[in-house]
Subunit: 228 residues, 2 copies
Amino acid sequence: MKLFMFVTMLSFTEENYLKALLKLTSQNAEKSEAGTNEMAAYLGVKPATATDMLKKLKEKDLVSYQKYGKILLTETGKSHGIAILRKHRLWETFLYEKLDFSWDEVHEVAEQLEHIQSTKLVDKLEEFLNFPEFDPHGDPIPKANGEMPDLPKTLLSEMKEGDYCRVIAVKDTSTPFLQYLEKLKITIGSKISVLEVIDFDGSMNISIEETVPRNVSMKFADSLFVSR
Amino acid sequence: MKLFMFVTMLSFTEENYLKALLKLTSQNAEKSEAGTNEMAAYLGVKPATATDMLKKLKEKDLVSYQKYGKILLTETGKSHGIAILRKHRLWETFLYEKLDFSWDEVHEVAEQLEHIQSTKLVDKLEEFLNFPEFDPHGDPIPKANGEMPDLPKTLLSEMKEGDYCRVIAVKDTSTPFLQYLEKLKITIGSKISVLEVIDFDGSMNISIEETVPRNVSMKFADSLFVSR
DNA sequence: TAGTATAGTTAGGGGTATCTAACAAATTAT
DNA sequence: ATAATTTGTTAGATACCCCTAACTATACTA
């Protein structure tokens, strides 16, 4: 039996599992646990692979779960996950602001950069970027101590006719969605007026930055976070 | 038998072997080949491991060698290696210039960053840094097309009494040496006057930036590149 | 040139991260 | 409440990168 847990260096893969788990367990306020298949699907591996890794992460005391039970992060696991998220979002900000990457290009490269091992690098990068609070997608960037600036998010689909709001984040970060947003000239901060809600299919007529009205699907309205 | 060679993604490890090989085969003008033990020692692995990897790299047509023979890079291998070197040196420049890393801290982090896969990232980074020609150690940064700005290097040890020169690069990039340089307040561009050469042990009395004379060993003088 | 030292290779093995196929538990539906 | 479906696990295999131990080829040296 081990008496001391060395905070060993995690492999890229382990880090990806932690990040995935963090995402899956914190997307709804209610649900703070995930399933094996869910994880596997999210990471693009087979369930068997996820089970194996979960055992390893449990061994290292980063997740807590038992056979056929639900998975949740331990405190250690969570703070590791947050550290990775911090790096990811700082790099995204760097790519977007300093290197002129577009909104939908930053993610892929940040996926790689987030695994660079160097506390000094992250902290200096944060300083270089002037301690940003939110990344290009509008998501909060955790501070070095793990604190997370949290802002109240509402889905566009929750808005009513006549409502007026600003885009603060995307819920769906897939390339097709981001490209569609680009086409619509919607970015973080864009102003949206809800002109009409079509009961039939939940689609909406909206005006983006006071321009010509446009119909967007319920799926779309469900993928965009706004502030009232 | 394979008819087409896909330029497959190389693993970190493969990239490190190529980079090592590039370094080992281009340090002297005469020698453009390396040995297995030499490689293994350089990379901190056992010779057996190097042999294995060499076979793999040969399979991928990145090195050319045969059993018990010398190793050299193919054109493909060389351009891969140069691409990695380019990334390494651009990142070093970034860390040094933008994030206030010190001369001897940049290397370790750049070792990780050099493996990030994204042509756009490298090119944008280069642009962001204003197309630097030399990294913080004074080494030339390869261009996107593989071209390498080459400048004539002389070792400090080749200088004679009364000579005057400027530091343009370090030959030895080990931490102890870099720290010693820091202590001596020697950086790229520092001016050095050779006051006296001691025949007995090859050491020199030099003045750095016109300050008080100081004796440096032959080993030291052999580790510093200067321009006349 | 023969003997020794050095350099390099092969064989066999281990840990990680993945897979497929087969199985077991838990949940859902009738 | 039993059957069907979904969810999760185990077993066995592969590729990668590394190791040690034992062997072989080349180079040096006297």
